[in-house]
Symmetry: C2
Subunit: 334 residues, 2 copies
């Protein structure tokens, strides 16, 4: 049964294999919004995203149990691919990553640089079929990107560290929802202290928010398209959904808000922040509009791997001409 202690164990297990990332804040941003926001900078992991935590905990758990496989397989077009490749290399395991052909050339290249074999398929369904085929080979372990308890516990170590490092507990925590692993772990880390955790999603990929409202897993009819390209699963996991149901709420953010906060977090943090991470900030700002006293928030920055195409799309409009405030953004600015 997954609980706070699972996250603490995961943290002990992966120590030395992942980076204890810093918590940063921006004086100017806090002044602009009238609230204090701390950012957990998991974009500064060696492969650029929190995904390394879950992958490390999954494989190191097997190692602890003397069940280390002969080879590792993963299906991912993004950060999970790089995370599994990175951790497998550190453990001396060969890794094969299955990617649909529309994955960015940069992510494919980085995954290969971490030593993995990349196999591409014409589309996602064929990628699923191929990864299932590969996992049947004796001695193979498939690391699921989210629907795996060791992965979920590993992802929770990020919030665990942040809560240890902050001088006082935040009033609320915001994280982006894709398959729900990051939020499940974050919920587990925050639960003993009763800190509210909010999920944030692109409005164009709002399967988790829909599922949360419906009380049952809702599957999007087709893969969504959004700037937040790491939050595009069609449905959350059967293991993650029970934790998502315990969250305090969900925020859905539009594409302008995602572009806006990707640009401004670049200014305030001098960091390349994925649009998917900016989703959490945009959700936090929606919440702040309803607050009548100064609050302290923790916003989880999930990753910093951005292709040129995404950079171009994010920066097509100059949102840096609109100074941050808690007023709704002008939709006509450009």
């Amino acid at each position: 049964m997954l609980n706070y202690e699972s996250v603490r164990e995961a943290h002990r297990r992966i120590e030395g294999h992942v980076t204890r990332t810093p918590v940063w804040s921006s004086e100017l941003l806090n002044e602009a919004l009238g609230h204090h926001i701390d950012f957990k900078m998991d974009s500064l992991q060696p492969m650029g995203a929190f995904k390394i935590r879950g992958a490390a905990n999954a494989l190191l758990t097997l190692k602890e149990q003397d069940r280390l496989p002969d080879r590792v397989v993963a299906l991912s077009s993004g950060n999970h691919a790089q995370a599994v490749a990175y951790v497998a290399r550190k453990l001396g395991l060969p890794a094969t990553i299955v990617m649909p052909e529309n994955a960015s050339a940069l992510k494919r290249r980085l995954t290969q640089q971490y030593g993995a074999t990349v196999q591409t398929t014409p589309n996602r369904d064929q990628a699923v079929a191929l990864s299932e085929e590969l996992r049947q080979v004796a001695g193979t372990h498939l690391v699921h990107p989210f629907n795996d308890e060791t992965v979920m516990a590993g992802q929770g170590t990020s919030a665990l560290e942040a809560l240890e490092d902050l001088p006082e507990p935040p009033d609320a925590i915001f994280a982006t929802c894709s398959g729900g692993g990051w939020l499940s772990g974050t919920y587990l880390a925050a639960e003993p202290r009763g800190i509210p955790v909010y999920g944030c999603e692109p409005a164009l990929a709002n399967d988790a928010a829909q599922s949360y409202r419906a009380g049952t897993i809702v599957r999007l009819p087709q893969p969504p398209t959004t700037l937040a390209d790491a939050a595009t699963v069609q449905e959350v996991g059967t293991l993650t959904f029970p934790f998502l149901q315990k969250l305090t709420g969900f925020f859905e953010v539009d594409e302008d808000e995602i572009a806006y906060w990707t640009q401004w977090l670049g200014v305030f943090l001098r960091s390349i922040v994925e649009p998917t991470s900016a989703v959490a900030m945009a959700g936090a700002v929606q919440w702040l509009r309803s607050q009548d006293r100064p609050t302290r928030l923790l916003v989880m920055i999930s990753g910093g791997n951005v292709s040129t195409q995404t950079h171009q799309a994010v920066r097509a409009r100059d949102w840096l001409s609109v100074w941050p405030s808690l007023l709704p953004m002008p939709k006509s600015a450009g």
Copy 2:
């Protein structure tokens, strides 16, 4: 007489007012190039650039001498503006920053957010005239961006910290040259250990390299235009040039190299790095091509303040499709 001890004193003086920025490296980048590169991340200063060091040392030196002015003036369209505004606010001094009208709206806004009054003029000549006029007012101190010994000593504290933090001294240090303050200070910090320091410049703004070769200060006929918008002075300073003459050499880099390394440092460091900082990396790569054994380099990252227009210009071409190596870049890639 400015020397190593001046930099050490500056470091003691500004401690607590500026951030001791980290030194970062990238495993993937080191593997790609076959050398070890450490990056001093001064883009992570509170206002986003090393300029805070010189401004802090200049004003804190006056404070130490009980000569703190009633108000501060600076002429700058970029990071020096923000640095002076930031430090003046911390010291409770009113600041007026004179900017030419073509300065980016973002930089103007950030300077104002740090509490400074911004006065704009139609062009740079008029900005110089206005700042001269303002400095005549009794009780006013003008902080020069580079031609000031306290500023130069302050800028050297960055390399000083890096050399303290590195486990072994680097084989060479690379920094971008604008007015020469950053390189003068870096030279002073490195000199006692005899570490070679190289200046790097955009080929389109190569006044320092020309001056170095000529043995006398060469002034560009007009303000240069380059992606490296923080390296566009027309001539180096009379106080900085004697130190620039002591450098081991200069590298001149073209606009493609600047765009290329701005993009790739974003991937390897997950940081927003100014094109002006990428100039130093591009120079380092030119030097590496002549090395026949693995080396350790220190590359100074000067700042991370980038406008949307500069982001767009840097990312117009997808250089992330060309994996880094020591081969010359393909000029036809796109």
